[in-house]
């Protein structure tokens, strides 16, 4: 509840009035001290969340992401071959590999954008081919090349996402404020998405995911690429926090420092095949000549080049 109260304290006048409307707060005076308005709204919120914050009670299925025997062929080219992967709640798994390894294809299949040639993909216990809507309802996906509706303003997009995911308006307003502050999108709320830079678009899509209530099942394709150092730092901290709160996260990246910094387990892919998997310690055991994640990666994807 304290976190909710601090979000209200950070709101500007328009946001406070919007929240007061949603809470049906009676405001009969034309002018009012901000502090008093904040206190009134906080009181109403306490009443609103009297039975606890609803999303804190939600739990994910034991296997939040389960990919079994996944193969994807484009004509004669095999992009992914026989991939098995599982992500449990409270885990961040890194999908690591050089360019063309099949990471993006895997995530696109996971998000239900393309169909697998063989194998199954389950999200929160729902098969993506059989129950795509239920599977997608819990999944948050950030593509490598973010795209979005260019003629919507950032605020409109976030409100739209909250509506289609049926987030109650009060929860949506609070969550939007929390993550807009975190990703420093305040000045861009009235900007058209078509005018945003790649980094700002990525932040917008991230906020779009976090407007929905946790816990999350996230599939992030190169999420750090395009963010500035502060945005990247905030995202890494946030991912760790979400993991600790029970979210399941699959991150694809070829930036090894990022993977090493946030992932609990790694799956190393090369030319569509899984060439190594496990925690950092397990991978070090598998590759006796390697001492760092970088050396493991090089050893498993073609050997460490001579100096």
């Amino acid at each position: 509840m304290n976190s909710v109260k601090s979000i209200v304290e950070r709101m500007d006048s328009d946001e406070l009035i919007r929240l007061a409307r949603q809470l049906n707060v009676s405001l009969t005076e034309r002018k009012m001290k901000r502090g008093l308005l904040v206190e009134t709204i906080q009181g109403e919120l306490e009443e609103y969340y009297r039975e606890g914050i609803p999303w804190k009670k939600t739990r994910l299925s034991d296997l939040a992401i389960q990919i079994s025997g996944l193969t994807k062929k484009f004509g004669k080219t095999v992009a992914v071959r026989g991939l098995n992967l599982a992500v449990r709640p409270g885990q961040i798994v890194g999908l690591v590999g050089p360019n063309g390894a099949g990471k993006t294809t895997t995530l696109r299949i996971l998000a239900g954008i393309i169909r697998p040639t063989e194998g199954t993909v389950q999200v929160n216990g729902f098969d993506m081919n059989v129950h795509p809507l239920k599977a997608k309802q819990r999944l948050g996906y950030i593509p490598e090349r973010p795209t979005c509706y260019p003629n919507l303003k950032v605020r409109e997009y976030l409100t739209f996402i909250a509506k289609i995911y049926r987030v109650p308006p009060i929860d949506a307003t609070l969550r939007m404020k929390e993550y807009v502050d975190l990703f420093q999108l305040n000045g861009l709320l009235n900007a058209y998405i078509g005018t945003l830079s790649k980094g700002n678009l990525q932040r917008t899509l991230l906020v779009g995911i976090f407007v929905r209530p946790p816990p999350y099942i996230l599939a992030l394709d190169e999420p750090i690429y395009g963010l500035d150092p502060r945005g990247a730092w905030n995202l890494k901290l946030l991912l760790k926090k979400l993991r600790d709160e029970g979210s399941a996260i699959l991150v694809s990246t070829h930036i090894l420092e990022v993977a090493e910094g946030i992932c609990d387990r790694f799956i190393i892919m090369n030319e569509g095949d899984v060439v190594g998997k496990g925690t950092l310690e397990e991978l070090l055991e598998q590759t006796p000549n390697a001492h760092t994640i970088e050396e493991i990666f090089l050893e498993l994807t073609g050997g460490i080049p001579d100096a």
Partner: protein, 378 residues
Amino acid sequence: MLARVGEELRSFWPVQMFKIIILAFIPYSIQFAFQSPSYFHVRLGSMFWTWYSTGMPVLTDLNSINPWTAITNLLVVAGPSLYFCYRLRAMSAEESPSRLAAATMVVSLICLVLVSYSYWFVPGGWASDSMYYQSLQGFVTVLLVLFVFIPTLQRVSSKRLPRRLTQSNKHTPNRLYSRIAGFAPRNISKLMVLAALILPYGVGLFVDPNNFILSFSSPLVGSTSISYYYHYLLRTMDKPFSIALFFQLGSMAAGFLMLGVLGLQVLFAHETLRYLEDRITQKRVTLVGVILLVFLVLVSVLNGVGVNLGLAGGAFIPFPVSVFIGLWLIKKKDQLLLEGETELTRPELSTLQEQEVIIPIIYVLESRLKRRFRRYKS
């Protein structure tokens, strides 16, 4: 209360009145006549004096308007702008002055029309000095630009644009861009407005400085001159009425064209700023720029076939300086990457809590009605 009034008198009003007095003495109306190598004359006119030279000794005189009438007119046309300044000073940073600015402009123009036509109501009144009325229009223009338009744009744009532009390191350093990037963004709004209002009118076949000082009030030039002409016709009847009507209708059409030119120039300046703030798409701002350009070409063509824009100086080609500045800014936006701290950064929480929030009137009424209804039910 008295202390507060005293403070206001000491701080705000003298400064503003000083500015107004300076503006009242600046010449706005300038006429050149080179009729033959042996004869020329130059006339300059402000709100209070005229300067007349024929190559012989210079004559400076008070203009023919009664000084008391001139002072009254000055106060009437300057009143709305002064009131705007006073209100703007009291506004908090969160309030937008745009609506008040628009209202001030409308009221100023109405005052200008009333003052321009006031001689109709004086028995035997006669618009003997058209130069005075041209100066009055120039005065109102400059007053609105300096007292209303620029402060409003500065307030609105400085909230969102960073205080300083920094050059993107994605591009090769360029000395010109570095200089522009170092230019405080609030100056961009001034530059755009000045470019929109003054520069594009500079080129004519006959160089006439009147073309440089044009304004929101320009459309009124046509209509005011109509009134002078009819007044003249009624008194003298020395020209066929139909011929006079033809020319005056042309003048009136030119007034509306000028209104279009001015409106589009200001709109383009405004849209360019909004694009720099990432609030609209490049497609939209470019579209406004292209429409403006087409309109300027149309005006030039019409002018060429005889629709004079109600201005001295004969054939006249509007030069689209503001379009060029705006399109250049749009094209180079990425190289002049807008970064840095904006003035929207949050103040301390403790000071925030003391601020007053204005609840929308509809919400207040709804709440009161609901409370009454609840009481009635219980």
